[in-house]
Symmetry: C2
Subunit: 357 residues, 2 copies
């Protein structure tokens, strides 16, 4: 199978080789070194300001989203959520569960946030803004410069969910003044799923260290304190963390985050240039390099996913909910090449010959 | 390295081979089948009663412990915790964080619960009991028949953390009348860490389905509802779940839980018979087959761990906290053989010759 989903994605041979090894015992100085290097490289690739910290949670991206909401905000906050799809909606749900006052800016699926839409929220006592840098469900990449400028002017704490965009799109945590950045192991980090990452600016660290303890498993203070010596409060996904280490070092050796971003951008551009003759429309505004959201003009989207899976050995990423029959997505993260793009285009052309699209 | 810790433990070749494969996309009928089979086999091996369910959380064992506390108990409950070490203490901490009234029965490290110790708690309105079937920190295996009998007479809901004893020691969920059983991927399941399991009796399912939603990530109702179709609310550790599937099928093919338990018991008995001449005392009462807790008579326990790691290529399991210099543990779960035991005994004998123990 060739995997064009947005997670889990294809891993490099070196990462897969680690997956075949026995998982080592981890309460050791040797594993602490791996973890401290993981933290250093993630902060470096995120361009985090001096004094930042990163912790690794054994959990899905949602674990990181919920840990951010529970540990970085309190009922004294008043938040804005940019809700342009399932993951924006998830932030709103999390704020509701944890009783943190919020308002949401709802966007039509596939539409980005435009400058005027924030203006009416200025000067109204909002203390925090939560945004998915890329709304994975539709591939929209928000204008983080604009959003961060608003937060800076308003003195707001910015929580940036970069789960699917970290390493795929530009993200300069220091320049944006973001307080938290989230990501996951199975996106552009191209490792198996099961680990999520919370990077915190000094202000984010201060918020986490003073938060009341609402949940043991998602407690960021405990993670930060244990992380000082390269350890975790609970048995982590040791194997995946070793794979993340291999991958971070691979990226560093190949030129760091800018090189990886350029590589993904080139794969995305190649794909987008090759679909011009196919009966698909680009669904969204302002695309992330991570994924291309397509609206098929001649067939239901979910049927295309199923046919590619069952008859061509290719996974694209289906949508759920209201967009199930309208949109499917083609990911560009992970170990993919332009030859893989060609295989997908050939499958589309064959489906067209067969009258399936 | 030979790994005698109690997690992560050594995996079989078949499990490691899955670790080397690309992780597949998971919102598919193919992955749902894997998950439904995982649920069926875990429930069968736990001897769960008809109508039971099992869910797989992407997280450490503590995630399962906290999910049980948050979803199966409310402030209307009044719980007893058997606290005989770090994991019993963790249950008490979790009940405190979530404001569930409780009392704890504290035991000296290494001591089991004796019948008279429960008697004074009878008829006092307790509604639930939480116990680690095996207290992993000291290797004590509690008398679950006695505890379950007390719970049955008192009409109490029994939460059994079998994280390190599942498949290593007898556990008959139906006969015990347990409402919940917890386990983790990296113990006798002998897969990489990162997945924990919550098995629920019909009463446990009913409690979870009616619980208020306190946490999205650890919400058992959401997991149960998604699990009906073999799916999870969030991207799970797909690779580890496929390894669990391989491992559960291996165990089934080799005769099921009784055969695996007999295999582990034989490894434990072999080790225990071979240490009689060494300067170690067994630290605890009523041992689990999963692990042998040893009190060295002639050297600090942590030094023995370090020497075995650095000079013999062997991991045993160190203790933390107050027992750091007093106790180390030798695990018997995972892909170990009596030849591995012999290698460890040879290392001990060499250390004795060198005057290190």
């Amino acid at each position: 199978m060739i995997n064009f989903t947005v997670g889990p994605v294809q891993s490099s041979d070196a990462v897969r080789a680690i997956g075949a090894e026995q998982v080592p015992y981890f309460r050791t100085p040797e594993f602490s070194e791996v973890m401290l290097e993981n933290e250093r490289l993630v902060l470096s690739f995120a361009q985090a300001p001096a004094g930042s910290r990163a912790v690794f949670l054994t959990g899905s991206g949602t674990a990181a989203m919920e840990a951010a909401v529970m540990n970085l905000l309190t009922q004294a906050d008043k938040a804005i959520v940019i809700n342009g799809g399932s993951f924006g909606h998830r932030f709103a749900e999390l704020l509701g569960i944890h009783r943190i006052p919020y308002d949401e800016i709802r966007l039509e699926p596939g539409r980005t946030l435009r400058p005027g839409q924030l203006d009416s929220y200025a000067g109204k006592g909002y203390t925090s803004l939560l945004v998915n840098v890329g709304e994975t469900s539709t591939g929209v990449l928000y204008d983080m410069g604009m959003i961060a400028g608003f937060c800076r002017r308003e003195g707001m704490f910015l929580i940036a969910d970069a789960i699917s965009t970290f390493l795929a799109d530009e993200f300069d945590m220091a320049a944006l003044g973001a307080g938290a950045m989230l990501t996951g192991s199975q996106k552009a980090l191209a490792c198996p799923p099961g680990v999520s990452v919370v990077a915190l600016s000094p202000e984010g660290v201060a918020r986490a260290m003073s938060a009341p303890r609402k949940c043991m498993y998602l407690d960021l203070r405990d993670a930060l304190v244990n992380g000082e010596r390269g350890q975790t409060p609970f048995t982590p996904a040791v194997g995946t963390l070793r794979q993340i280490n291999t991958r971070l070092r691979e990226i560093e050796a190949a030129g760091g985050a800018p090189s990886e971003r350029a590589r993904i951008a080139a794969i995305a551009a190649d794909f987008r240039s090759k679909i011009k003759e196919l009966p698909f429309a680009i669904f969204s505004d302002r695309l992330s390099n991570a994924v291309t959201p397509l609206r098929p003009l001649t067939a239901p989207a979910y049927d295309i996913f199923t046919t590619l899976k069952d008859e061509y050995g290719i996974w694209v990423c289906p949508n759920g909910g209201e967009l199930r029959d309208t949109v499917f997505r083609v990911g560009h993260i992970g170990a993919l090449t332009t030859a893989d793009n060609d295989a997908l285009i050939a499958a589309f052309n064959d489906m067209r010959r067969r009258g399936l699209i």
